[in-house]
């Protein structure tokens, strides 16, 4: 860690104490008793990754125009050019020039294949490892990680989702405690985490102490765990407001030159926020980058999307590496499916949905970078080696974190589930 956790902890405790004595609120036991704490969790393998940054390319990222290039086959490549990378023998699309220089950290998962060809079902499977059902909502991957590994830093949320649809990161049957906390605009920070300007510090103290007095009388009428939990959340909310870690959410604390290396796009700034959150011990950060549904005009739309991805991802990898965090942070680039090798001329050279073959990427977190895993045929239309399902990818992420892929959690309706369903982790990718 780049800073001294012990010092940080003492300072934080002091702040909380001050807040509590000021607000007359008693400290309740930590929220989320159903959420494991880091102390309870022992990873199943040494040097396991501690955090995950999950970059979701929503809409269906074209594999041929990004990670799975076919330099010999102009017909499927269309206008997309191919470049060398920092790893001899591995080529990438010219849409990703900066990422190409970071190839030594990356594993290209070019044998991905799914049975879901519609966006919502495809994203659901990718993020929840189960087919979408009308009878249950399965937890998101981040929710599973919260449930099995718990928070690293108890002061702030352990699962944060930047720019994505909050629906995609809800806790399903695991409930709100395991859900991703949504952040719409990475520059806006955590919603409602600061005192509005219309309330003075003095009034805020007064208000909460009045509420506390009312609650004390209320307890003589009725008392239940649900009420105590609710009240305890006020301490937690104050803790968030007052804690040093809140600045993790504040991108304005980042030097301009660092912000600039990431680039101006919302996605790239989301990557920067993810790095700050990892530094403060957030377990799972999802950053969504939309607009990959390139039915029309693929060869204009994909390079535009890639520009932001390339800026954000390459800066993130460099930054994490420089701070010594890359080894303990798994970076994932995922999408719900790929796009057709056929180019639809009628749609200004578009590509349609293609679930049969696509690519995802892993980096850091103990993976052996500079390699590809899985292979498609010369058209990019069929996986011919090491076919990997979304469940396998999620099992691999779980493995990186040292989580038990076979641990069964029973839903409230009595049905048994595991983090990656029947997915098999690709253990050979790790040292």
């Amino acid at each position: 860690m780049p800073f001294h956790r012990a010092d940080e902890f003492t300072r934080r405790e002091l702040m909380i104490k001050m807040a509590q004595s000021a607000f007359g609120i008693t400290l309740a036991p930590m929220i989320g008793s159903s959420v494991a704490t880091a102390a309870d969790f022992a990873p199943s393998r040494p040097r396991a990754a501690k955090s995950v940054i999950f970059l979701m390319m929503s809409g269906g990222m074209s594999h041929l125009d990004t990670w799975d290039v076919k330099p010999e086959n102009d017909k499927v490549m269309g206008d997309t050019k191919v470049i060398d990378t920092s790893v001899p023998g591995i080529k990438l699309s010219a849409n990703l020039p900066k990422t190409a220089l970071q190839m030594q950290h990356l594993v290209l998962m070019n044998g991905m294949s799914t049975n879901q060809g519609a966006h919502e079902q495809g994203q659901y499977l990718m993020q929840r490892s189960y087919d979408m059902r009308g009878t249950i909502v399965h937890p998101a991957l981040g929710s599973w990680v919260m449930r099995l590994a718990g928070k690293r830093n108890s002061n702030i949320p352990g699962f944060v989702s930047v720019s994505g649809d909050p629906n995609l990161v809800n806790g399903g049957y695991m409930g709100a405690k395991c859900a991703g906390v949504p952040i719409g605009d990475p520059n806006a920070g955590l919603q409602d985490s600061t005192l509005p300007s219309s309330i003075s510090e003095a009034d805020f103290t007064k208000r909460l102490s009045l509420a506390d007095s009312l609650n004390k009388q209320f307890h003589t009428v009725v008392n239940s765990p649900a009420i105590r939990d609710h009240e305890g959340l006020y301490s937690d909310a104050l803790r968030i407001m007052r804690c040093e870690d809140l600045k993790a959410f504040d991108l304005s604390k980042e030097p301009t030159e660092v912000k600039d290396t990431y680039g101006p796009s919302r996605f790239a700034q989301g990557c920067l926020l993810a790095r700050r959150l990892v530094e403060h011990g957030v377990r799972f950060i999802q950053v969504t980058h939309g607009g990959w549904d390139t039915h029309y005009d693929n060869f204009t739309a994909v390079p535009a999307r890639c520009k932001d991805l390339d800026d954000g991802l390459s800066a993130l990898l460099r930054d994490l590496n420089r701070r010594g965090l890359l080894q303990e942070t798994l970076v994932v680039v995922a999408t719900e499916f790929g796009r057709t090798p056929e180019i639809v001329a009628e749609h200004q050279d578009g590509r349609d949905h293609y679930p049969k073959a696509f690519s995802c990427v892993l980096g850091g977190g103990g993976v052996l970078g500079g390699q590809t895993y899985g292979k498609t045929d010369p058209t990019g239309g069929k996986v011919i080696e090491n076919l990997t399902t979304p469940q396998d990818l999620n099992a691999t992420i779980a493995h990186a974190l040292g989580l038990p892929v076979d641990q069964v959690i029973i839903s409230p309706s009595g049905r048994p589930f595991t983090i990656a369903d029947k997915g098999k982790p690709v253990t050979t990718l790790f040292a």
């Binding site: 929220i31 519609a118 966006h119 919502e120 079902q121 979408m132 059902r133 009308g134 009878t135 249950i136 909502v137 949320p157 649809d165 909050p166 629906n167 809800n170 409930g175 709100a176 405690k177 906390v181 949504p182 719409g184 955590l190 919603q191 409602d192 985490s193 005192l195 509005p196 219309s198 009034d203 805020f204 007064k206 208000r207 909460l208 009045l210 509420a211 007095s213 009312l214 609650n215 009388q217 209320f218 009428v221 009725v222 008392n223 239940s224 649900a226 009420i227 939990d229 609710h230 009240e231 959340l233 006020y234 937690d236 909310a237 407001m241 009628e346 749609h347 309706s413 009595g414 049905r415």
Partner: protein, 662 residues
Amino acid sequence: MHRLTLSLLLRAACCAATSLALLSPAAAQLSRKESNPANDPAWLKKTALEIDKRLGAAFQKQSVRPLPPADDSRWMRRLYLDAIGRIPTYAEAKAFLDSSAPDKREKLVDELLASEGYVGHMYNYLCDLLRATSSLGTDGTRSGIPYLRWIRESVAQNKPYDKLTYELITTSGGGWEPGKGAVGYFERDRGMPLDNMANTTRIFLGTHIECAQCHDHPYDKWKQLDFYEMSAFTHGLKTGNRDARSQYANEKYNGKTAETDPARRDLFRWLNENILDFGVSGTGTGQITLPKDFKGKGGKPDEVVKARSVFPGASSGRRENDDARAKFAKWMTASDNPRFTLLIANRMWKKVMGIGLFEPVDKYVEPNKENPTGTLVSNPELLAYLQGVMRELNYDLKAFQKVLFNTRGYALGTNPNAVDPRLPYAFQGRAVRRMSAEQVWDSMATLVVPDLDYRKGRALDPTARVYGKNLGQNAYDIWKELEHADIKTLSAWVDRIAREISSAKGQKEAPAAMSSSMMAEGDTKTASLDPAKWAGYNQALLRAAELPSPTPPDHFLRKFGQSSREVIEGGSSDSDVTQVLSLINGHVEKTIIGDSKAVVYQAIDGAATPEEKVAAAFLCILSRPPTPAELDLMLPEAKKGRDGLKNILYALLNSNEFIFIL
């Protein structure tokens, strides 16, 4: 009949099921009593007393002492929240508490159940139960509005629950065909007919059969074969209609001949997804082919099986014109179906009393090998009696709730201890629970907007909108115009609308609240009110029932646990820290306290002295006067003027007593 124990009742019902299932709905309709017994004060009193007697017997048997009755203000607040889903306004609270009429409680029950607030609250309940959404299908392109309107109208007409259920299961027609909104029940699950059946059995029969979709149930008696035999009833019904016209329209936005103009592409897409390829047809074939990977007992892969109900009573199949859907619906909603009445009686008990006589309310298991006790029922005699009442009332849910609201059991004080809903409970006092998301939102909006219940939103507006563009026409009318149109006419329609849209560019949409088309729909109560009365009030503050179903994921309602309406009754009253952040730094300060027009300030400004101002704030927010100690606590703030009063309002809104229902 009422004195039978539950098990006897069930046994008797099972035996009688076959013969009664043959009754036609028309015959069942004729057998209904003309007058509603709940309108007879003597009957109402007697029935409420019978319920109280059974509660009393349980107190005696379990040696528990009932809590002393709730005082007027607590009972009133509870009733407002349970019956219409929000706290009373200042004027409403004052009128009730000041009244000395001996029958003021009975009167208030009647008044609230007859109000617009009841319709919205019950509509929320049904949307949650039926997973009804503003847009249908996983890609969300078909409109769910006709379905939502059908639900809303059914509540407004107080349609009996058996009739409502029958229509859900049997309706055929276009999505926007007038009167056919119930087709949304199947359109909701297009492409997932098996999941739809699993939900049907769970909602109406309290049976979790979804596990048996893929294998024999591990903890219950259901076999995979049972699941497919049930599914055979609705198998063969078609959602959508991919005929030549639909294919033509599809080509125009999705195919090789797609329109190059995006507006025209959007119009063809809307036309296809909302008019041509939207609706339910087919009666259900009554048979189904078992899947290739079928592994349950009693069947083989690819075998064709006939429809058969999980509880004896109905079967169908392999016949021409065999209306399997109707047979299924008739069997399911028959008054002697072993589960239908049981489920809805218990659901309504929970809705009024806070906890079901068994929980969860959608799961009732009879004793079996794997589960020798079966579902634990808190008061079997009472549950049996309630089923009799439900039958006697012909599934009139409003009348049923009226009976319960009139019991002394409902008026008992609050249980000071936590009650575990999974364990049998004698109902010796009200169990405390947090307000639902809708109750929190609506109660807060009550403090800001006058006559909130009548302020209409656009969530049920049938005006056709194509990706945000208003077509200036009601979608029901477009359906009528184009129902039988040929391809040429469809093209001409797109031409005309595209022209109209392009010439209307730059014109602004009407504001969200009070769309004129809603008023034209004949809601006289709305039309008689002056929309100008809401001028200047925060447009976002409409009752939850007037907002899209569900609201967007980042909405306050969702943060506080509104169901995503993906699963049955998916709402949650669990607290979490983002809610508290919103209570201390967000919604409370920004939309209530920071809004100088909020009606809560009118109540406070109307009070002369600081003491009276504190009393007004308490009445507005907690529906009761302050205790002397609370008055002492708040007076120094009230004397500071507006800033101090803001502190009081904030503290009250952040108190446990505001958000927990006593």
